[in-house]
Every structure is written in structure tokens, then in C-alpha cells.
């Protein structure tokens, strides 16, 4: 069974990404659970979604420290999610920095050197310039699908056809090519690393 913990900032496509991942796993014949908390988190707060798949899945929530992969669409949120990951897990982060909204004058500074902290803690860290890659393909919004592609390189149990079918079904015809290209770009990025 695989447990994937996804995180990011409200409005940046975490839930779309976890939906694609869950559907691709279902299409591949796995039992799937996807869990998320929305509500207050929609107003610019941290957003977390969890996907688990395998032959038989019970709990929809992942125990802290047991996620096989953490995918973060933002640097600080990736750092925050570190304890969710098992020590030999894989950390995939979109290299994007979104400063939290100010909460008055006393605010903790945005952490520097996120890459280094993560690399010290986990063996496999891949920092993907997904925002830039998506921008290069024509639309920043596809950054989450770039991350799906990056994840696919660590998920051989989900065949490429399942990803393609899921992405084709998830987007309107005019956005399909963009998202398929974003997916491939993410996949190639990891393979080249």
C-alpha cells in the first residue's frame, strides 16, 4: 500500500492534484482512499489532502511519519509536512515561495535554505521548478500537473495510460494538451535528475 501526503496553499490546486492521483490509482485497479479537510482552509490557509492506494485500504488518514511520498506545491508547506514522511520516503516540492499573509507586525520570517533542511532530513528530495515549467508551457496553473508527472516517476505501479486517461478526463478539451505536456515535463524532470 502507498500513502501520499499532499500539501500546499488554498487555491493552488492541491485538491485537483490529489483527485488526479486518486483517479489514476483507481483506474489502475487499486482500492483507493482520499481524504481532505476543506472549509476554513479555503481562505488562503494551508491545505492538506491524503491519498492511499493498494489492494485493500482501510483508514483514509495517514499516520504521521508513515507517508511514502510527500508532495508539496509550496516550499514552506513542504517543510512543515516533513514529519509526515517516513525516513526513507520521497519528498517532492514545487519550488514556489508564497509568503503567508501578515498577521500583524510580529510574524515569523519565511524560512531560508529549505532545500538544505530537507536534504539533511530525507534521502530523496526533488525540488521541481514546476511553476516555471508550467509557465513555459503556457499556463502557471498547470504546476500541480507537473508535480503529478514528477510523482509518476516514483510510482511505477500506476501505468502511464492510467495517468493519461485520468488527465484527459479531468480537464476541458482546450486544456488537455497543456496538462498532458505538463505531466510529461514533470516526469522527464525527475528522470533527468
Amino acid at each position: 500500500m502507498r500513502s501520499i501526503y499532499l500539501t500546499g496553499v488554498g487555491g493552488h490546486g492541491v485538491l485537483t492534484l490529489s483527485g488526479i492521483l486518486a483517479e489514476a490509482a483507481l483506474t489502475s485497479g487499486f482500492d483507493v482512499r482520499k481524504s481532505e479537510i476543506h472549509g476554513m482552509s479555503q481562505r488562503g490557509g494551508s491545505v492538506v489532502s491524503q491519498v492511499r492506494y493498494g489492494n485493500r485500504v482501510r483508514s483514509p488518514v495517514i499516520l504521521a511519519g508513515t507517508a511514502d511520498v510527500v508532495i508539496s506545491l509550496e516550499l514552506l508547506e513542504g517543510l512543515r509536512a516533513l514529519p509526515q514522511l517516513k525516513p526513507d520516503g520521497v519528498l517532492l516540492i514545487n519550488e514556489q515561495r508564497i509568503t503567508p499573509a501578515p498577521v500583524g507586525r510580529e510574524r515569523a520570517p519565511y524560512p531560508e535554505g529549505v532545500r538544505g533542511i530537507c536534504e539533511n532530513a530525507v534521502d530523496t528530495v526533488v525540488i521541481v521548478p514546476a511553476l516555471e515549467m508550467a509557465r513555459g508551457l503556457g499556463n502557471e496553473k498547470a504546476a500541480n500537473v507537473v508535480m503529478a508527472g514528477a510523482f509518476s516517476a516514483f510510482a511505477p505501479e500506476i501505468p502511464i495510460e492510467a495517468w493519461v486517461r485520468t488527465i484527459e478526463a479531468a480537464f476541458r478539451p482546450e486544456h488537455r494538451d497543456l496538462n498532458l505536456n505538463a505531466f510529461r515535463a514533470g516526469q522527464c524532470f525527475v528522470e533527468a535528475e
Binding site: 496553499v9 488554498g10 486518486a22 483517479e23 483507481l26 482500492d31 483507493v32 482512499r33 482520499k34 481524504s35 481532505e36 479537510i37 476543506h38 472549509g39 476554513m40 482552509s41 479555503q42 481562505r43 488562503g44 490557509g45 494551508s46 485500504v57 482501510r58 483508514s59 483514509p60 488518514v61 499516520l63 504521521a64 511519519g65 508513515t66 514552506l76 508547506e77 517543510l79 512543515r80 516533513l82 514529519p83 514522511l85 517516513k86 525516513p87 509568503t99 503567508p100 499573509a101 501578515p102 498577521v103 500583524g104 507586525r105 510574524r107 515569523a108 520570517p109 519565511y110 524560512p111 533542511i117 532530513a121 530525507v122
Partner: protein, 589 residues
């Protein structure tokens, strides 16, 4: 066909397969998507009700008239609907009547974590608790059958983890024909709850509970024993069942889907077959208490927490099967938090900035604007329940005046919340000689739950135009003579309006109109521009606006986030911020 559905979508699917005629709801996390999905899939008449009581009453009327009706709400909504719920239990139904209570253990978006199984027990109606999306769909269908067979409303009790988790569901592709409408027959002895009638109905309700116990003993699709290692036997329900199965795959389990009334013989039989009996349930020791009242001993809340959500770790710890595993050290605890905030350009920010500046006592209410409590705005004194702001302001004023306390009180309530249950508070204010001021923050939608329509938007749940409730006319009809409608973005005008209304010796209402920025996406103006070398006084940071960041001791505007609302330009003491305003038409005062 297997589909990945959330619990809420699965309930909607079950309702469709059950041939439901009518569904009603008031939005509330985590229940909202049930009615939204039903509306989207079509085929069922849908209504957003002004509040849960009305939602329940219309559904009860449909059921009495012979159609199947589903009514959904969050847990605290059932408090609002409790009056008709308790009485409809006595009357019974004709067509099936199912109440979905979406509880929120862990309070992800709620003010309490009440366990609504208690309410169902008090109302003497059965409770079904699904443990995943497949069961959410199956139990919805079963709930309608039980409702009609046993002449009772049925509570389908779900929790946030069920509502918002997705799992595969086998669905019936072909839409079934709607369940035929049962003929309505007048029966005053059942449906007119005069004391003489109600006394007989109470006896019928007690008989019904005994029949429900029998149903629970035999209905394997609801309650089942999974025999395994007999040293540990676990009685469980809802999502806790999944956690139990995750951490104790070999244990014997009595999985209850019909959790009230308790199938006592099945429980006794199970308890007799195991060495140690555990009860694993979220929130209150509901099953545990029922089981103990049978004279059985069980381990429960002494090892499992009564507060918050359960998870596999908490269940494993309670069962004594927890394993230590290697872990990654948490990062620096000083990481900046990322709490939810009012959006850039939100009109609520103008109101709360002004209220905080004026140092008013603010009785608040429930919605996005509750975020006005958080730093840096820190502008709210109370938030109790839907609609409470208006009544509480009047009460606070009575006490403060008696104490010769000079502080001024204002009630703040959103448009949807005002319709839900603020109107009666305003009637009381006028009727009982209050002089308070009510600020209605009208953003033209039920924003926090994801932008549902309500009577003040003039659009129905199915997207049709309808009469639009006129708040100002309503307030005048109630007897408030001082009613003004205004644009909150003009901070000086808002402040003087508040000063004038608070000074008036009679009730007053200020309606601040500012459409939700997530609905009205056209910018309010050009993004603000910093025209001076910002000295970094931090005044604009006190707005808590996500478009304003502080870098190297200076304020920086993010033009991609800024909506040009102009608040920062109004408060910059150095007049360094400029906004080229292309604001909408001024609202007549």
C-alpha cells in the same frame, strides 16, 4: 460501475437511487456538498432553506404528503431543527424522511463537537452510521426503507472524515424511476399532536424502538460480527471501524451500522465470545454507555480520547498495540503559520478595521467574517451560534448600562446568517426597547461554505431567479427607523455612520454592501502603488491584507493579489500609497 465518491457525493447518489422526490438543506461544513451534488445531478427537487428548522419542516411536509425527502445539515444545525425533529418522531412519516447530520469531530470548521447520536436518542429515532462512501450510499437507500417500514424519521449520522473522504462506490448507472408518491390520508390522531393524541403516539414510538432493536439484531447489512482472534473483541462504528481494521486486523469486531437503538442480544452474544471487550467510537461514550447499561463491562473512554478525532495511532494506543517507528524530527517550531485570512479586497476587512479602531464591543456571528477575530484585526468579542450576535448585543448593552460602563456595543452579522436567525433577534431589539446598532455585512452570498445562494441573493438552489429579499425594507417593516445602506470601503464615512447610529436613542441597522471578492472577480480599482520610500510604519499591515507583505522593513504590494480596494491608501499616514479608483457605482445612502 465503480466511481470514486466522497461520502457527501455518495449520499447524493444513494438519494437518487432511492427515488427521492425532495431535498433541502442549509449550508454548513461538512454537509454542504450533499445538496450541491443532488442539485447538480438533477432529477430531485432541491431547496436551500433559510435555516435548518425550515429545511426539516418542508421535508417533513413532503414526507407526510407521500414523497421521499432528504434533509441535510451540520451537527449544530440539528439543534435548530430539533423542535420539528422531536415532534415528527411522534407523528412518523408517510414517504421516507431521512435527516443527514454531519458531525465535526476535531472541529475543523465548527464551534463545538457535539455528538448528535444523543439527539437522535432523545428524539427516539434510529441512527445509521456509515464507515465509508460505499456505506454512505447503501445506508442512504436503507434509511428510506427503514423510515417507511417503521414509520419513523431516520438519522444518517456522518462525520467530516466520512463526508470529505473519497472511496470507490459501486453505483447503479440507470436512474431508477422515482419512488411512487404514497397517497396522503388525513390522520389527525398521528399528525395533530394534541396532548391526547401525543400520549398515544408516545406509546407507539416506544413500540417502534423495540421493533428497531429487532431489526438491528438481524439486519446483517447494518450490524455484523467479524470473528477473528477472540482475545480482543471490539465494538465500533463509523470511520473508527476503518482505524480498528487498520491497526488490529486480526481482532474480532462487532461493526455497528445501526448504532441506535443498540442490538442488545447481538452485543451480548459478541461479548460472550471474546475475552476482553473494547468500544472504539469517536467523541462521546455513546455505545459504551448503552453497552454498560446491559451490565457488560467494556474498556472505552478510559483509553480512547473523548475529544477530537480518532486516528489509527490513537486507536492503536488505546488497544495497546502501538508500535514505535522511526521518524523525521519536526522542523523548527517557529515556522510561520498560514491561517485562513479574509481575501484581498474583502469588504469585511473595512468593517473590522473600523470596529477595532473605534474600540467597540463587537458581538459577532458565524461566517467568513468570524475571521475578523484573528490578528491583526482582533475585532470580535463573541461568536456563539448562528444569529446570536443581535440578541447578545442587546443583552450586553443591558448589563453594561447597568454597570455604568461607557463602552459601546455593536452586533455584526452576515447576510445569510441574518436570514437564518438574526431577524427574530432584531424584532426583539425593536419590541423590547433596545437602542442597539446592527451591522449587516452583505456580501451577497453564503461565502464561507462555498458560495451558496439564499433568499437575499434572489437565486434558488437550482439556479432559478426568484424574489430577492430586501434587507432594508425588512428592517423598516420590523420597526427600525434608522436603516442605511452603504459602501464599507470608505472608512471615514463608515466610522461616522457608526458614531451617529450608536449615539441614536433607538435601534439602527447599517447594511454594508460589498460583494464577495471570490464571486465578483472584477477588480475594485487598479492595484495600489507605493509612491514614496516606505518608512515601514506598519500601519497598512494592521489590515491583515494578503496583498501587502513586509520585506526588509517596508511594505510591498503584490499587484497580482491586490484588488485596488483602496483601504491601505486611506490609512497610510504618509500618503504614500495610491490607488487609482475605478470603483463601482456608489450605493445610495
Amino acid at each position: 460501475m465503480r466511481k470514486l465518491l466522497s461520502g457527501n457525493e455518495a449520499i447524493a447518489q444513494g438519494a437518487r437511487e432511492a427515488g427521492v422526490l425532495f431535498a433541502s438543506a442549509y449550508p454548513g461544513t461538512p454537509s454542504t456538498e450533499i445538496l450541491e451534488t443532488i442539485a447538480r445531478q438533477g432529477g430531485i427537487r432541491v431547496q436551500w432553506a433559510p435555516n435548518e428548522k425550515v429545511a426539516y419542516e418542508v421535508a417533513a411536509g413532503v414526507a407526510l404528503g407521500g414523497g421521499r425527502a432528504l434533509v441535510s445539515m451540520k451537527h449544530v444545525g440539528v439543534n435548530v431543527a430539533a423542535d420539528p425533529l422531536f415532534s415528527s418522531s411522534y407523528s412518523g412519516v408517510n414517504g421516507g424522511l431521512v435527516l443527514v447530520s454531519a458531525d465535526d469531530p476535531g472541529m475543523h470548521s465548527s464551534q463545538n463537537e457535539q455528538d448528535n447520536r444523543h439527539l437522535a436518542r432523545a428524539a427516539k429515532i434510529p441512527v445509521l452510521e456509515p464507515s465509508d462512501s460505499q456505506e454512505a450510499r447503501d445506508f442512504t437507500r436503507l434509511a428510506f426503507e427503514i423510515s417507511e417500514q417503521l414509520d419513523t424519521p431516520v438519522m444518517l449520522r456522518v462525520t467530516t472524515r466520512i463526508c470529505h473522504s473519497m472511496s470507490p462506490v459501486v453505483v447503479e448507472e440507470d436512474q431508477e424511476d422515482p419512488e411512487p408518491i404514497r397517497r396522503y390520508r388525513r390522520d389527525m390522531s398521528k399528525n395533530v399532536l394534541l396532548p391526547a393524541h401525543a400520549r398515544r403516539r408516545h406509546t407507539a414510538v416506544e413500540r417502534r424502538l423495540l421493533r428497531l432493536v429487532q431489526l438491528g439484531e438481524s439486519a446483517r447489512e447494518l450490524n455484523r460480527v467479524e470473528w477473528g482472534d477472540r482475545r480482543i473483541g471490539i465494538v465500533t462504528s463509523g470511520v473508527a471501524y476503518q482505524y480498528v481494521r487498520e491497526v488490529a486486523p486480526d481482532a474480532s469486531v462487532l461493526k455497528l451500522g445501526l448504532t441506535y437503538p443498540l442490538p442488545s442480544e447481538l452485543v451480548r452474544e459478541f461479548a460472550a465470545g471474546v475475552e476482553a471487550l473494547y468500544v472504539v467510537e469517536e467523541l462521546d461514550p455513546f455505545l459504551e454507555g448503552e453497552i454498560r447499561s446491559l451490565g457488560l463491562s467494556a474498556v472505552g473512554k478510559e483509553v480512547f480520547p473523548v475529544t477530537g478525532e480518532l486516528d489509527p495511532d490513537r486507536v492503536a494506543a488505546g488497544l495497546g498495540v502501538a508500535r514505535i517507528r522511526p521518524s523525521i524530527a519536526p522542523p523548527d517550531p517557529g515556522l510561520p503559520l498560514r491561517p485562513p485570512v479574509l481575501c484581498a479586497g474583502c469588504g469585511h476587512r473595512a468593517a473590522f478595521y473600523t470596529l477595532a479602531k473605534m474600540g467597540l464591543v463587537v458581538t459577532g456571528d458565524i461566517g467568513c467574517y468570524t475571521l475578523g477575530t484573528l490578528p491583526p484585526l482582533l475585532a470580535m468579542d463573541t461568536c456563539m451560534c448562528m444569529g446570536a450576535s443581535v440578541g447578545m448585543a442587546q443583552g450586553m448593552e443591558i448589563a453594561l448600562r447597568e454597570a455604568k460602563d461607557e463602552r459601546r456595543v455593536v452586533a455584526v452579522i452576515g447576510d445569510s446568517t441574518f436570514v437564518h436567525s438574526g431577524i427574530t433577534g432584531l424584532i426583539n431589539l425593536v419590541y423590547n426597547g433596545g437602542t442597539g446598532t446592527v451591522l449587516i455585512l452583505d456580501n451577497g452570498t453564503t461565502a464561507m461554505t462555498g458560495h451558496q445562494d439564499h433568499p437575499g441573493t434572489g437565486v434558488t438552489a437550482s439556479g432559478e431567479k426568484t424574489h430577492r429579499l430586501d434587507f432594508a425594507a425588512l428592517c423598516r417593516a420590523i420597526g427600525v427607523r434608522r436603516v442605511r445602506e452603504m459602501d464599507p470601503y470608505d472608512l471615514d464615512r463608515l466610522e461616522s455612520a457608526l458614531n451617529e447610529e450608536l449615539a441614536a436613542d433607538e435601534p439602527s441597522v447599517i447594511i454594508c454592501r460589498a460583494p464577495c471578492r471570490l464571486v465578483e472577480r472584477t477588480p475594485l480599482g487598479q492595484p495600489a502603488e507605493m509612491e514614496i520610500d516606505c518608512p515601514g510604519c506598519g500601519a497598512c499591515l494592521e489590515l491583515g491584507c494578503p496583498a501587502i507583505d513586509e520585506r526588509d522593513g517596508r511594505s510591498v504590494i503584490d499587484p497580482t493579489v491586490c484588488t485596488g480596494c483602496g483601504l491601505c491608501a486611506q490609512i497610510c499616514p504618509f500618503c504614500g500609497l495610491k490607488v487609482d479608483s475605478i470603483r463601482r457605482e456608489p450605493v445610495p445612502v
